[in-house]
Subunit: 134 residues, 2 copies
Amino acid sequence: MIKTLENLPTGSSLALQEVIDNLPWNTQGLINAVTQQYDSGELLMVAWMNKEALLETVASKRACYWSRSRQCLWRKGETSGHTQEVKSIFLDCDGDAVLLKVDQKGAACHTGRKSCFYNQIIDDRVVVVNDKVN
Amino acid sequence: MIKTLENLPTGSSLALQEVIDNLPWNTQGLINAVTQQYDSGELLMVAWMNKEALLETVASKRACYWSRSRQCLWRKGETSGHTQEVKSIFLDCDGDAVLLKVDQKGAACHTGRKSCFYNQIIDDRVVVVNDKVN
């Protein structure tokens, strides 16, 4: 269904519930979630969402993912306090990825770093390039 | 192996080939790839890489993905000319996602839009918010 938006002009729209019901959820019922700091553009993390997590995120404006390891909803920051206030949400062209632009409190990464992407490939090495913030 | 970098200070490093050989490739031999315009921070697309695609991207500094639909290497822009010049590459904390910061020529999206994330969730609608650039 989301593909019907491909050739429509800016401002065209579809009902959210119908789009969500028809997203190409994978065999585990998940789509990719990519999370970016809304003002700096820094990429914070990549995770997964099921339908329930996406609907909760839309409704609560707090990022909620699906934890594949724990097999439960993962309300980001619920225990750490490192919540993500959702500023805007986008679906990609084929609907198997969602982008959250958020305001990250503290660290997005479990290592205490702001972003999970702290390992840079430089020539033939993988180099730690960011310090912990917490 | 990449997890050994978690608690090491900034500047610590591992050999790239060893890290790549030990990434947690999924059952299809893939990791997530997220691609961002290097200067503006605009999120362009989400795709997949196998080991060969990652090694080629590192060596050529042109983004090369794995096409799950076509089951072959996908040298971005090979037919369209909409190439992605790779400025920097990062692995996330657990090594199942790679971030490319690129300079995108033309459109990253097959619809002709700069970014694939042109469908914004606004209240109870999904709204097209970006025009085609090509």
